[in-house]
């Protein structure tokens, strides 16, 4: 099977290349979690990774973020690009909400006092400023996800990576987190890379959709084309996925 998929995403001649993946393989023992991934991401793009469970979405985001090593190939970020990641189930440290955010800044060599001030600003952005002194462990699922988002925002990233950021939330919390994400991306013309099982969310947020199956990219299309054009012949696997036959 040919694993090289030509990107049909919008032409990026004027946009700055921000991230480049070349011939990426990730192997866990004998199992290939990702195989020959080639991908270019341009500044300001909103890229959604979709696919069934185990298709490699989360692994790909972790590799891009740099917390998972590659077996072969390269991940190349343009120099100076700040990136941050929000995990599917953010782990809350046993500390206050404001300290939880400030820690991320302190680890980037920001003095603790300044880090706390900047953390408060980030909490304002996600509407958690009133509970800054509360223990992070006591927050609800939606609040925890917003807090994780605040921590990511605090480091002023140009690119945000989100691994199924709303999958464990109720509809109200889901809408709230989505609203914050969309507002931040629009305000900052930032790049967004996210994985999701929620195709409605993908439609609302993404400008480009990448379909993964068994660790390979099998479709890379603009959102409009992915959802509204017939894919039976050009991308049969993605077509079956959209029909719910690849879950």
């Amino acid at each position: 099977m040919n694993t090289q998929v030509e990107s049909q995403s919008p032409i990026h001649t004027k946009k700055e290349l921000q991230l480049q993946l070349q011939g990426l393989d990730v192997q866990f023992g004998a199992h290939f979690a990702l195989t020959q991934i080639d991908l270019n991401v341009y500044a300001g793009e909103r890229v959604a990774f979709v696919g069934a469970n185990g298709s490699g979405k989360s692994t790909l985001l972790r590799v891009i973020h740099g917390v998972l090593p590659v077996s072969s190939g390269q991940v190349h970020w343009q120099p100076g690009v700040q990136q941050a990641m929000v995990f599917q189930r953010p782990h809350m440290l046993r500390t206050s909400v404001v300290n939880f955010v400030a820690l991320a800044l302190w680890l980037r060599d920001v003095p603790w006092r300044v880090a706390k001030e900047q953390a408060m600003h980030a909490l304002h952005q996600v509407g958690l400023q009133d509970i800054a002194g509360r223990n992070a462990k006591t927050l609800s699922g939606g609040q925890q996800q917003r807090l994780a988002f605040a921590r990511a925002l605090a480091v002023h990233p140009q690119c945000m990576l989100l691994d199924e950021p709303t999958s464990s939330l109720d509809p109200h919390a889901k809408r709230e987190v989505e609203r914050i994400m969309e507002h931040w991306v629009t305000e900052n013309s930032a790049t967004l890379l996210f994985s999701s099982h929620n195709l409605g969310q993908v439609k609302r947020l993404a400008t480009r959709v990448i379909y993964l199956e068994n660790g390979r990219i099998l479709a890379d299309l603009p959102t409009e084309q992915f959802f509204h054009q017939p894919l039976e012949k050009s991308h049969p696997e993605a077509h079956l996925f959209l029909r719910g036959e690849r879950v």
Partner: protein, 245 residues
Amino acid sequence: MSSLTDSVFAAIGLIAQQDPMLWRVVARSLWVSVWATAVAGVLGICFGAWLAVTRFYGRGALLTLINTLLALPSVVVGLVVYLLLSRSGPLGYLGWLFSLKAMVLAQSVLVFPVVAALTRQCVEDADRLHGEQLRSLGAGTGLRSMLLVWDERYVFLTIVITAFGRAVSEVGAVMVVGGNIEGFTRVMTTAIALETSKGDLPLALALGLVLLAVVLCLNILVAALKSWRLRVDGSTSDPLQKAWV
């Protein structure tokens, strides 16, 4: 049976009368074990946490060694420390043999593997669950291990209490390196052994009851802290915490 009952009543009498000899032995025993637990606690937690997050050639063998040392007989520890501290030994110049310092050293050696092994397991489990998110923030190996220790700090309370229990209840090591000298290096366990051999069962039993009471108080303290923690955190969902505390 009646002799046991008589001994129990006599022991309660000794405790109630606040027998000075009894309380001096208890105080000495607590002093030695608290210091030993503090020394082994600090070193064991640092070493165990580091071992949990680092990977190097021979790590598996080191883990096997640490786990084997959990079953280290206290008299063997006493013997090794005795040889180290004896006049011809490498640490003989310290002049610690038959002193409380020697007893602290012996108990520290005895409980260090307990703290290190339990810490390693706890931090490694936590790292498997949350380490990636700390790496994502930019925390390197050393800082990550310390953040995980801080985050799991209530579990370490249980580990330290376990280590203290092992230290305060052992007899072999302190007997060998301390010499059980009355008024100087005699502690609860060595006094119990001596008084039993002399046939003074009430005193031996009184010391045993005090030893049990100390452990009971510690357990009450841990339970109280756990209850306070649950009120503060409002979180019982972490399976790791549930398993440990």
